[in-house]
């Protein structure tokens, strides 16, 4: 009986140890893969067509993969904005799309069409603000997107035509392809100069930004 307890306990410990070791090795190889991608294929993180905010010359680039229909993206948006203010001209923000919800692509199309009329950031903030109404997961009402946007003084006829633009579709498709390459499965996902944010919090993003700013502006 004692012998049996020993065999079961030993095998259990060995298997759990193997699990922990494999997890550690996998995480390390993922980190290496990402930093390799950051150095060799930086366009995976930053595409020319993506909306940018802040100083275009800034050496520290936040790539945020977001979904206009995602609640955490909405909740985290003010944090990103205040950090952009805090670090001012050393940091720029590049928005990438991760359409993981039912009406995400519709909202993205509307946002991009608003960008044609130079109202992108106002439209993004408005859609985040009104997200609980149009993007409720139990009763989504995507038609409200247009109602809200029309209050912004946009040319709605033009917006609706622009939404069908093949340029916007290409952009969404490319972003989706990059999502797969980077293995992103949640929103928002942040990269700062290709370094993935591990600790998803205001303090976490601030300290990652600080360390990248120290590297870029010695």
């Amino acid at each position: 009986m004692k012998n049996k307890v020993f065999i079961y306990a030993l095998s259990g410990v060995l298997l759990l140890g193997a699990f922990a070791l494999a997890a550690f090795l996998y995480k390390n190889s993922e980190k290496e893969r990402l930093s390799f991608l950051a150095s060799s294929e930086s366009e995976l993180f930053v595409r020319d067509y993506s909306p940018r905010y802040g100083n275009p010359e800034a050496k520290v680039v936040i790539s945020e993969f977001l979904d206009p229909e995602c609640e955490s993206c909405r909740a985290f948006y003010p944090v990103v904005k205040s950090l952009m203010k805090e670090f001012d001209d050393k940091v720029q923000l590049v928005l990438r799309y991760a359409p993981f919800h039912g009406n995400s692509e519709l909202a993205i199309r509307a946002l991009e069409a608003a960008r044609f009329q130079n109202k992108y950031w106002e439209a993004l903030e408005l859609l985040f603000y009104t997200q609980p109404q149009w993007g409720d997961h139990h009763h989504p009402r995507p038609e409200l997107i247009f109602e809200y946007l029309s209050q912004m003084g946009l040319d709605m006829e033009r917006l609706k035509t622009d939404m069908a633009s093949p340029k916007i579709q290409e952009m969404i498709d490319q972003d989706k392809q990059d999502l797969r390459a980077l293995k992103i499965r949640g929103t928002p996902t942040f990269f700062v100069n290709g370094q993935q944010l591990q600790d998803f919090s205001e303090e976490g993003l601030r300290s990652l930004l600080r360390s990248e700013i120290e590297k870029a502006y010695p």
Binding site: Y8, L15, L16, A23, K183
Partner: protein
């Protein structure tokens, strides 16, 4: 160790490896488990505990408690494989929201996928369980 004890131990190892493996896919590699995966997990995870208790307290009762779970898991895995390999079309699948059950996350050597691993694990368990039952009655 008696033969039946060795078989019971093999059952336990199989269930534990399958449990840790599935947790590795979801927690470490962060593959989202689909609905059918969850049904198979519901059948697999308790088996680790049933085999542990069975080995030390009630070896003769192990089959009766473990076999129903193993059968449920086996049939779910079988159905999942049919979906995964496109034998049943995706539209007939029960996964309406969230992760599609036919999304292929891993594909080792061209045929080893997660539902396939699950089906293999449940098949091994069923074979071992019947061997256990026979050996226990022979040893009496």
């Amino acid at each position: 160790m008696k033969r039946s004890q060795f078989i019971a131990f093999s059952c336990w190892i199989t269930a534990l490896v399958a449990t840790l493996g599935s947790l590795f896919f979801s927690e470490v590699m962060q593959f989202p488990p689909c609905v059918l995966c969850w049904y198979q997990r519901i059948a697999m995870y308790p088996l680790v505990l049933i085999f542990t208790v069975g080995a030390f307290r009630r070896p003769e009762a192990t089959f009766a408690f473990a076999a129903p779970l193993a059968f449920v898991g086996w049939f779910t895995a079988f159905y999942h494989n049919l979906l995964h390999y496109g034998i049943i079309p995706e539209s007939a699948s029960p996964c309406l929201e969230g992760v599609s059950c036919s999304t292929v996350f891993i594909n080792w050597m061209g045929f080893v996928t997660i539902p396939m691993l699950s089906w293999i694990a449940f098949s091994i368990l069923l074979i071992l369980l019947f061997a256990l039952k026979r050996n226990l009655s022979n040893e009496k």
